[in-house]
Structures are given as C-alpha cells and as structure tokens.
C-alpha cells in the first residue's frame, strides 16, 4: 500500500478494499516511526487528519468521490492552511496559526484529500539543502548523512520515505525539481501563472510557482489536475480553460524532438550524473524520440541574474514581517524602529537576512539600474534563448542538478557554492517555463540522479507524457530507500 500509485489508491478506496481512515492511520504511523530521524514534517496533527479521512469516507460512501478523494497527502509549510501552524520554516512564523486557506489547500480540500501534515522546508524557501530551516535540517531517506535538497526538502523526503503518497512543493529557482532529483522522485513546476499563489507565502513573486511531488508522472498529472486553475485572488493567475493533464500520458513518443542544450553538458556537471542522464536520453531515442542539439547561450548568467531579482522581490515581500500584525516580536525593545529591527533580526535566519540585504541594496538609490534593471534585461535574453531553442524541439532535457545529494554541512558555510547547485533549474523560472525532474538512475554512493525535462509554455501535458512513457519503460521511479 505504501508504494501504491494515486490511481491504485483511488481504485482501492472505490472498491472498499481500504478506507481513507485506514490509509491515513497507516501513513500517520509511518510518520510517527520514521519522522524523528528524517525531520521531514514540522507539524503533524493526527486528529485533524483522521477527521478529514472520516469525511472523505462518507463522501466516497455517498458515491461523490473524485480521483483524489480519501488520499492522504502532505503540504509544504509555505501554504497557509486554516487552523494549522504555518511556519514557512521560520522562527518569524513559529507562532502563526493561519486564519485562512491558500487556494492550493482549498482546491485539495475540495478534491477530498486528507492532509497528513506540513512539511519542513528551507526558511522562506531560501535554500537548496533544507539546512536553513528554523526546525533543523531534513535528512535524505537514501542516506541520512546527506541533504534531501531544497527548498521543498521535507516534501521530497516524506514522499521518498513513503511517509505520504504525494506532497505539494513550490519552486522559485528549482525548489521542487532539485529535491525531487536528490530524493529520487518525480516533481513538476508548472508554467508561471497556472497554479494560484494565493495563500502561498511569497518569496519572489514573479518566479514562485507551486507544483506536485510524487512517485510518478501519472501521480503528478493527477495532483496537477487538482492544483491548477484560474484564481481571481492571485493577480498573476492566468485565465485559461481547465486542462486534463493526464490526457496525453498514453501517447507514443515517436518523432518527439528532444533538445539537448550544450550548456547543460559542459564543465561543472559531475561524471556520474552525466552518465545517468545520457543513458536516459539513449532510452528516449529507443522510445522513438529524436535528439537535436540546441543552445542556451545566456544560461551561465541565470544564477547572477536570479540572485539580484529573487532577493529584490524577497526584500519587498518580507517587509511585511514587522512584529506588528503577526509573527515574532522581540521580547524587549525601545522605540518602534528598534522593535522592527530587533524583531526581524531575531525572527529571520542568516540566509534570509543575507537575501533581504542583497535585495535592499540592489533596489536602493543609485544601484537600481546597474543591478536590478540589468538583471531584468538578462532575464529577457534568457527567455529569448528558450524561444529560439523551442523552434527546433518539443522538449528540452538535461540534468536537474550538477551533482547527486551532497553531505549535510558541505555547502552550508558557502552561499555561492550553494547557489550554484541550482545552475540548471533557475533559467526555467526566469523564463516562466514548466520544468520537471524524474528519476533516471543512481550516481556516486548509490544516490539518485534526476533528469530534467523542460517544456514550452503550457507544455505540462507533453512533459508528463514524455515522463510517463519513460516510466513505463524503466523502473527507476519505483526504487525506494530500503526501510
């Protein structure tokens, strides 16, 4: 049951082979057993979960169940969920019980899923290893000495260790795809604007996008069906017809043009990852795909441009945390300015402060043109590179991360090295394109390797199709850490 797909779980629920209450109980027991060592969850509230499960069972009994009704899932602690502690991995929000639901939460509630808990994450989603969380690092289920990736590291570890059938994540520069790769999962970041950001605590608003993390492309498609859709409460939500993301899963891949950007296979890619990714591409050729050499000449500028744009937006977004309306307030202070300065100094961790300071600087008088506008111009160049590349191919493939999961503490003291672990994912966010990561083998020390698939705007169904066909032909996505 713990390895079952969402479709199999739904079928078992419909056939009364299992109840939602039994499923929730099973996964809550696994969480109780394995989470102390993994630290994948910040909040677990069994009573709430079981109440949701009973409701789902009643709904199924009435014949009103949908494809996800009764299925337990976990949510990244960046999503506001009414009545649940919602911390965003920060001391700043360590006392924040949300008075409302994010649209993503609301949509999953409407679908009848059962919330197992809120997963650990890098503080305010700023990190690539889950080490910046106020609640401590998450351990990778494949090897507790290594990181699960970040920032959605808790969601990744929870799915990988089979503590939940699936989870939500968010991706600003790779925060779904990189942990999915490092934990051996399938994760998808949709086209910017497809999933509502309402109630999702903002990091960099022009880049943030929520998506599913699960054991397979088919599961991700089902999750995305529930998550996606127009929402008037998010000013950047796109008004589009609803899509069924499972519709093309069964299509053959004959004639699919796969673009291979030479920049993805250049210096900096470790040999073990290159080998697994190349083997996956060979498998795609066997499945009928044609590979095309493409180029993203400005990709090397994506990390520098990102570390101007994302901190700039973050410095503005995080100005709301002032110790007045919610969140942490310093116990002792003098005047109002002192209260702000002390509350923020105590409430934010080191990485969050660094990014706020960078953002404040690049937006300050006299530096705006040189940094912020220049970064936005480079963003345009990067987006154009993709437009050019997609003239020659249907999908782009390459590595998700330059290395397999690294040891805890390895990069924690060196922000620049940490930033460079997102070198292959960041450009996708800057362009606003959809991207996913699927397991494609193992590298050094038997750690998982992820294949990144990048689609054109609104190309989610096509990406999922390519991922699903690969998963029908291979079994990397079925491998789980032994427990």
């Amino acid at each position: 049951m713990i390895n079952a797909s969402l479709k199999e779980l739904a079928a078992a629920l419909a056939a009364k082979q299992v109840s939602s209450l039994e499923l929730a109980t099973l996964f809550l027991e696994r969480i109780a057993q394995f989470n102390p060592a993994l630290n994948a969850f910040i909040t677990v509230d069994g009573e709430k979960s079981l109440a949701m499960a009973r409701e789902a069972d009643a709904r199924i009994a009435r014949g009103e169940g949908g494809p996800l009704t009764g299925i337990p899932i976990a949510h990244k602690d960046i999503f506001c969920a009414e009545g649940w502690l919602t911390t965003c991995g920060s001391k700043m929000l360590s006392n924040f019980v949300s008075p409302y639901d994010a649209t993503v939460i609301e949509r999953f509630k409407a679908a009848g899923t059962v919330t197992l808990g809120k997963t650990n994450m890098d503080e305010f989603a700023m990190g690539s290893s889950n080490e910046t969380s106020f609640y401590g690092p998450v351990k990778n289920p494949w090897d507790p000495a290594v990181v699960p990736g970040g920032s959605s590291g808790g969601s990744a570890a929870a799915v990988s260790a089979r503590l939940t059938p699936a989870a939500t994540g968010t991706d600003t520069g790779g925060s779904i795809r990189q942990p999915a790769a490092l934990c051996g999962l399938t994760g998808l970041k949709p086209t910017y604007g497809v999933v509502s950001r309402y109630g999702m605590i903002a990091f960099a608003s022009s880049l943030d996008q929520a998506g599913p993390m699960a054991k397979s492309a088919e599961d991700c498609a089902l999750m995305l069906n529930a998550m996606a859709g127009f929402d008037a409460r998010d000013s950047t939500s796109l008004e589009r017809e609803a899509e069924d993301y499972t519709r093309d899963l069964g299509q053959p891949l004959a004639g699919l043009r796969v673009g291979l950007p030479k920049e993805f296979f250049a210096e900096g890619l470790s040999a073990d990852v290159a080998q697994a990714v190349e083997a996956a591409i060979a498998e795609y050729r066997r499945l009928g795909a044609v590979t095309v050499d493409v180029s993203l000449p400005n990709m090397n500028l994506s990390v520098p441009a990102y570390y101007v744009i994302a901190p700039a937006e973050a410095s503005s977004n995080l100005s709301r945390f002032d110790g007045v309306r919610y969140g942490w307030r310093a116990p002792q202070y003098g005047d109002l300015a002192d209260m702000y300065c002390k509350s923020r100094a105590q409430g934010f961790g080191a990485e969050v402060k660094r990014r706020i300071l960078i953002g404040t600087y690049v937006l300050s008088h006299g530096y705006y043109d040189a940094y912020y506008l220049q970064a936005q111009r480079i963003r345009r160049l990067i987006a154009r590179d993709f437009v050019e590349a997609f003239r020659q191919c249907d999908l782009i493939m390459g590595p998700t991360s330059p290395t397999v999961a690294f040891a805890l503490g390895d990069k924690a003291g060196d922000p620049v090295q940490m930033y460079l672990s997102d070198i292959y994912t960041i450009a996708v966010n800057l362009a606003g394109l959809p991207g996913m990561s699927i397991p494609c083998g193992f590298g050094n020390q038997g750690r998982p390797v992820g294949l990144q698939i990048i689609g054109n705007y609104f190309g989610e169904a096509r990406m999922l199709n390519a991922a699903h066909q690969y998963q029908l032909a291979t079994d990397w996505h079925r491998r789980a850490p032994t427990r």
Partner: protein, 95 residues
C-alpha cells in the same frame, strides 16, 4: 565593487534588521562574495534589451470596486503580538 562596513550598516538600517556587534564584518564578507557572482552580469551588453519584469506578458486584471471580503478582523488579529479594541499596539510614535 566591494561593500564597506558603513554600507552594510546602512543597508541593514534600510532593511530594518539589527546587526549585532561583530556581525557586520561577516555579513560584509559574505555579501561581497555573492556580489562577485552577481558582477558577472556587468560584462554583458544589454543595450536595447527591454527589461523583463514578469514571466507572462499579461495586463493586470481590473475588477469592480466593491467590498468582496467579509470582516474577519478578530480571526486575523488572534495571532497578533498585542491588540486592544481591534487595534494593533506598537510603541508610541507621536508624543
């Protein structure tokens, strides 16, 4: 480019983040390391390239100007550090 200690203090002031004594030096060194990475942008000629603020070229939606939310201030103020009579309390700012 290299940030001075005074500049770091000034940025922290603008960002309303208190830096503990001794913290400024370490922060300066880390920020300067990050700016070495960021400076790679400066070598690129972007003359004539329109800045891209957003992933999608869409105009902001407008809606009718009417109240759509219900008053839930009690629920919203439940988590506030200090509230009295529906108001958020902060240190005195006007004598």
């Amino acid at each position: 480019m290299s940030l001075s200690l005074d500049q770091v203090q000034r940025i922290a002031e603008l960002a309303r983040i208190e830096l503990a004594p001794g913290e400024a030096e370490q922060t300066r060194d880390q920020l300067n390391g990050i700016f070495v990475l960021i400076e790679e942008m400066q070598a690129v000629d972007t003359a004539g390239v329109e800045p891209m603020a957003h992933a999608q070229d869409v105009a902001q939606r407008l809606r009718e100007d009417r109240a759509v939310e219900t008053d839930r201030h009690q629920a919203f103020q439940k988590g506030a550090p200090e509230v009295e009579a529906g108001l958020y309390l902060v240190p005195k700012v006007i004598e």
